[in-house]
Symmetry: C2
Subunit: 465 residues, 2 copies
């Protein structure tokens, strides 16, 4: 009796047949991804045949050529390159650093230059060290205590945050602005604890900015591994007189031309309404950029292929965009939005995957409450795939510049626990990506794109509280 | 206006202040696990100082001694060893196997004896191969096609299942009963495709049984790596006349005495109601048993420590039980239940962690609908920790024998995508366990134990459909 009642309720409240069709389509997307996915093979090539793809590098160009050729082979309606000028920063000779406890007694520690940093003098830089927990400590200490020293930023990522991206946000100001701020107090250089929740020997690079600091006042900045940071901190406590030495020969070159790689399936019914799915093709140079963001690129490419393979023809135009230069400039994202505006293109939805190729948990959305409610109404369709997060939050850096167009922005949210073990470090490599986890991400993205295309997004201008 | 209404609804339907206390307690459990967890250090010792802990081995005894000493140091009310006789099976000289395409032309392939298998003859075993997709193929082929050959079970794990344990269940009969069944048709030995969703070079062992096959009719059984299985299958297709050679010297010894390791916090209010949290201390011998099930052991130990550290005194008696011999006999689980029955102990709840130390997603429950509904009412408390699965399903092998006592059985459900990459293989090792993922599992378990203790389980006999 109970069962029949329950069934009656279900029939009364849900569009039963439509739901069945959606269930079938989504099941076939996941099946195709898990049995015949292409993402892992593409990532293997990007990671193991090409490797780290910093903007302006030979490898970045190889990645453009490779992904374009792969998109060409998919039988899309159009594949093209969108030119964009990008910064070219080069690491140079591997960095070197040590702690000097007394003259002649030194211990090497693993460091790497932060992206965008200037070099040290040719002979390196040796100075006393002052440890701080953040930029706000600088003012308290004042010029007296900082001038002529190396500032050591050592605030760790907060381990009690469940979402590790929140811990990252709480720390990354040290890396991004630490040198510019310490320079104002006469520091000679900065060493920043790596943005990593784990204790290990990998230094993690990442972008930094000198803001409006004149060129002649820019001081070199490097990341130190978390174990190195612990050692340096302990050594300082035992003897505040120790010195730190580091040497790096990185250099900024003039901008060079590069490309966003774009592929498109033209919409059958509303070809002028554009949906974007993408990741960024550039990566840092230390590892091979498998999680950040090779994974997001190959997943995005596979979204189009999976929809094709399962026989779904989008009503709206669907574009995969592999953005160039997310890591140190966001030029690709800005260029894409600029061109879209200049052509008066109507973007209705954009989805980015740039949080690693781990098991997908859901999506975060930058959109109106009404649009979020629409998406949340689809949650039951994702339940069999253990996708359970449909929350407010950021879409992604590359699609951010589209925001003014009033579209729905979304970001894939994979499990975040291991991401910062690898992020921007030498161990962001292919063997740390699990094939199934990567494929589940691609299928989850394709399923959301399918639903967005089929039902359309609620025009936000119409409905407003 | 809307917000106030919503708040009013919330106040009307949930015990607001009680919830706040629960939220606080659970937050402090997670904080303690992530900042001051002991699970990872314990696992480091179990994995890297002791290693694989097959029942009856020196390492199994070392694991008993080590975990008892650690529990002793926690200031529990009682710690003891529960004797249990366990089987002792020894792998002997590492196995060796090759495919012989013609006399003198051979290709080595990675194999390992299945746990409990007999040895091959001293000089090894060489025979033609017949490939099957499962036990049901044997009858179709008949004695004619099988006698004098090696049966090669090559049904892969089904990749489209989202829960990889379901794929495992769909395959493991080949490993468990393949030799007993093929022996009936005169096969000389069996080779079983490893239970692994990934293509790699690791053979995965695991238990097998000869059922009631007389000793003299038992044939040797080994697992082959998934890549080896693909190679063997392809080679067979090209030339069905090829031969397969393998040699293994494993041996079953008489049973030896071992122990379940048990620690207890006596309940303040209902000391006669017992709650169990546990994992199994034994592991296969190929890796170091980090995921299976070192993780479950150290998480269970940390449940008691975390509750103590956060100042929670259980009303009911809480036991950690580290079961011996889950892998090839379940003697520890059976013994624990037997002793509990003989002492007329009242068990109300048992929770096992034996699915790897990966990011926890929730729990499966073997209990009445009413008990499940009770647990599901706690789901909002787990939401901040991204714990979202509260489903019907198995509790765990070791706690299974308690089922007759009418208690609530539960199993931790971590993300399952990577589990079978490591399960029972040489690469089930410490470096594949992420500290935070392990700690989140321990905190999730401790939080459920806290709620179960505080609110009690609904007596199932009272409420029935």
């Amino acid at each position: 009796m109970r069962t029949i009642l329950l069934l009656a309720c279900l029939l009364a409240t849900t569009p039963f047949f439509a739901q069945s069709e959606d269930e079938k389509q989504i099941r076939s997307i996941y099946d195709a991804a898990l049995t015949d996915g292409k993402a892992y093979d593409w990532l293997n090539h990007l990671s193991n045949q090409i490797g780290g793809r910093l903007s302006g590098s030979v490898q970045a160009q190889q990645a453009v050529d490779y992904t374009k050729s792969q998109l060409d082979s998919l039988g899309l309606d159009r594949v093209w390159l969108q030119p964009v000028m990008v910064p070219k920063w080069v690491r140079g000779t591997p960095e070197f650093a040590y702690i000097e406890t007394k003259p002649g007694l030194t211990t090497n520690v693993p460091i790497c230059a932060l992206g965008g940093s200037v070099a040290t003098p040719d002979v390196g830089l040796k100075a006393s060290v002052i440890e701080v927990k953040g930029i706000e400590d600088l003012e308290k200490l004042g010029k007296d205590k900082i001038e002529g020293k190396i500032v050591f930023y050592n605030r760790p990522m907060e381990p009690t945050q469940i979402n590790t991206f929140a811990s990252y946000s709480g720390c990354v100001d040290q890396r991004y602005s630490g040198a510019a701020e310490a320079g104002k107090y006469g520091a000679l250089g900065v060493i920043v604890r790596s943005m990593n929740l784990r204790l290990d020997n990998y230094p993690h690079t990442g972008s930094m900015s000198y803001g409006d600091t004149p060129v002649e006042n820019r001081i070199p900045a490097a990341a130190i591994s978390t174990k190195g940071a612990e050692l340096l901190s302990t050594t300082l406590k035992l003897n505040p007189e120790i010195k730190f030495y580091f040497k790096q020969s990185c250099k900024q070159y003039p901008d060079v031309e590069s490309y966003n790689v774009i592929g498109e399936i033209r919409g059958t019914t509303y070809p002028n309404e554009i949906m974007v799915v993408g990741g960024h093709l550039d990566s840092w140079d230390l590892g091979d950029g498998s999680h950040d963001d090779g994974a997001g690129c190959v997943q995005s490419m596979d979204v189009l292929r999976l929809l094709k393979e399962t026989g779904y023809k989008p009503k709206r135009t669907l574009r995969v965009v592999l953005f160039m230069n997310e890591e140190n400039g966001l030029r690709g994202g800005n260029k894409y939005a600029e061109v879209a505006r200049s052509k008066n293109e109507k973007h209705v939805f954009a989805l980015e995957s740039d949080s690693g190729g781990f098991t997908p948990r859901g999506f975060s959305f930058d959109c109106s409450d009404e649009n979020l409610k629409q998406v949340q109404s689809w949650a039951p369709l994702f339940e069999p795939y253990l996708i359970h997060m449909f929350v407010k939050g950021g879409g992604g850096a590359d699609i951010g510049p589209l925001k003014d167009e009033g579209l729905v922005l979304a970001g894939l949210r994979p499990d975040s626990q291991r991401y910062f073990d690898h992020h921007h470090a030498e161990n962001d490599t292919f063997e740390h990506v699990n094939k199934r986890e990567l494929e589940l991400g691609a299928a989850t993205m394709a399923s959301l794109v399918y639903l967005m295309d089929k039902y359309g997004t609620i025009p936000t201008t119409k409905i407003k509280g």
